[in-house]
């Protein structure tokens, strides 16, 4: 089951700013980290994130300050 979801950031091509890269899922039943593209159409993990949010959970977004 999903434990946390965080928006992940990446440096842009010019290495001048952080831009959103995707979602990072951590799981409650293992130590794996799953990375899901921002454009998640057709991606089953993206669908799981939507369902997880619909249950009242919140995606963490620290603006690239990790």
């Amino acid at each position: 089951m999903i434990q946390t979801v965080e928006i992940f950031y990446v440096r842009n091509f010019d290495d001048t700013a952080n831009i959103q890269g995707g979602y990072k899922i951590t799981w409650s039943d293992n130590d794996n980290k799953t990375f899901v593209p921002l454009n998640g159409e057709g991606n089953r993990h993206y669908q799981e994130i939507l369902e997880w949010v619909a249950l009242g959970n919140t995606i963490t977004d620290n603006g690239g300050g990790e």
Binding site: M1, F8, Y9, V10, R11, F13, D15, G21, G22, K24, D29, N30, D31, N32, K33, T34, F35, V36, P37, L38, N39, G40, E41, G42, N43, R44, H45, E48
Partner: protein, 389 residues
């Protein structure tokens, strides 16, 4: 000695034409063995197990199992189970593996909403031959070998995901711990059919137990909109003891009203069909595996990493997982280092569903020179790429 069949030489060329054959004498069933890729189920012989043979630990609902590829478990509070690729197979049928589900924690008195079923999701592109949604809708035949210590009635559901319509049929396991072949034929759905696209369109569900929410009505044996109470009526509770186990192999879903012999595909073809949905970026570097080209971006990131896919994936935006304990390694100029704390995939560029190449960006490094060519790879263990339905 009497001949039971006439040799080819007994017929003059052209002597047996259409007019010599009575209507219906040569049926589809007598020809169907020559139809390639007639099995809609992928990995029906359970021979491909990219996630490992197992047995697994307990799994969450919707999780693709450890053991044979392309199967997942949908479960709600119906005990705990372990899955594996087993070498217990029906004798003399050509199978080398089966899928085993082993009850690890029992649920002898399920609550109303509890259930468990084994599920093979089917992509819409693979359902065109059904001709559903038209007056030409084809009958489908599901055949499989099954074995369990628990005899009784079991339910299989045929599920049109796109239209939320379903049809259920029962089968009986008659002899405990004995391989039995089951064949189920259903009519086609003339009302609607799965979408012809790369989405989750259709499913075969082998039920292993369900509470009254799904069993209190009348079994739905014709195509109808899903009514929960009619889905799994009569199903035995295989979750009632940790001694219980269930095996299946030789699963084949085909168009027509009878089951043909199981269609054995070459191993490489079967593997490639599974890899449209899941493959692993193999461990690299110190482990001797392949590296993947990219470039450094700043001091900590490797961007534009090209990862070749074995086949075009179902989607161009799959998920990538860093498994527990995996780290990444990069070689850039004379520089070589491993990532701190496993590193991260920072983005994956959607390269389209027909692409055979992924583009990853990763980080977790330090001290890299900016803008130089780099070779990257995971070490310790591989990184799964998931485009499953």
């Amino acid at each position: 000695m009497a001949l039971t069949t006439l040799p080819t030489a007994a017929f003059a060329t052209g002597s047996v034409g259409t007019s010599q054959l009575a209507d219906g004498a040569v049926t589809t069933e007598k020809l169907v063995a020559d139809v390639n890729f007639r099995n809609i189920i992928i990995n029906g012989d359970m021979s491909i197990a990219q996630r490992g043979a197992g047995p697994s630990g307990a799994f969450a609902s919707g999780q693709y199992i450890q053991g044979p590829d392309r199967y997942k478990i949908d479960i709600s509070n119906m005990g705990n189970w372990k899955s594996s690729q087993s070498t217990d197979v029906p004798s003399g049928q050509g199978f080398n593996y089966s899928l085993k589900l082993d009850c690890d924690a029992a649920d002898a008195s399920p609550s109303a909403g509890d259930f468990i079923y084994l599920n093979q999701p089917i992509e819409g592109f693979n359902t065109a031959s059904f001709k559903f949604g038209s007056s030409s809708a084809e009958s489908l035949t599901l055949s499989f070998w099954v074995k369990s210590n628990k005899t009784g009635t079991y339910i299989v559901r045929f599920y049109d995901i796109d239209n939320q319509r379903a049809l259920s049929q029962s089968y009986t396991i008659s002899s405990a711990s004995t391989w039995e072949k089951k064949t189920i034929t259903i009519s086609g759905d003339t009302v609607s059919g799965p979408n012809y696209d790369n989405g989750y369109a259709f499913a075969i569900n082998w039920c292993l137990g369900a509470g009254t929410t799904y069993t209190s009505g009348t079994l739905n044996t014709s195509w109808n909109s899903v009514t929960n109470a009619n889905q799994f009526v009569g199903q035995v509770n295989l979750a009632d003891s940790t001694s219980n186990e269930w095996y299946v192999t030789g699963a084949q879903l085909e168009v027509g009203t009878s089951a043909s012999d199981f269609e054995f595909l070459p191993y490489d073809v079967n593997l490639r069909r599974c890899q449209r949905y899941y493959f692993v970026i193999n461990q690299s570097g110190a482990n001797g595996g392949p590296l993947h080209p990219g470039r450094t971006n700043g001091s900590a990131d490797i961007n534009n990493i090209g990862v070749a896919c074995p086949v075009p994936l179902r989607i161009g935006n799959p998920s990538v997982t860093i498994q527990s304990g995996t780290i990444m390694q990069v070689w850039a100029n004379t520089f070589s280092m491993t990532s701190a704390g496993g590193g991260s995939v920072t983005s994956l560029v959607n390269t389209g569903s027909d692409s055979i190449r992924l583009m990853l960006n990763v980080n977790g490094f330090s001290g890299l020179s900016n803008g130089v060519a780099a070779n990257w790879g995971p070490v310790i263990s591989g990184m799964p790429v998931d485009a499953e339905l």
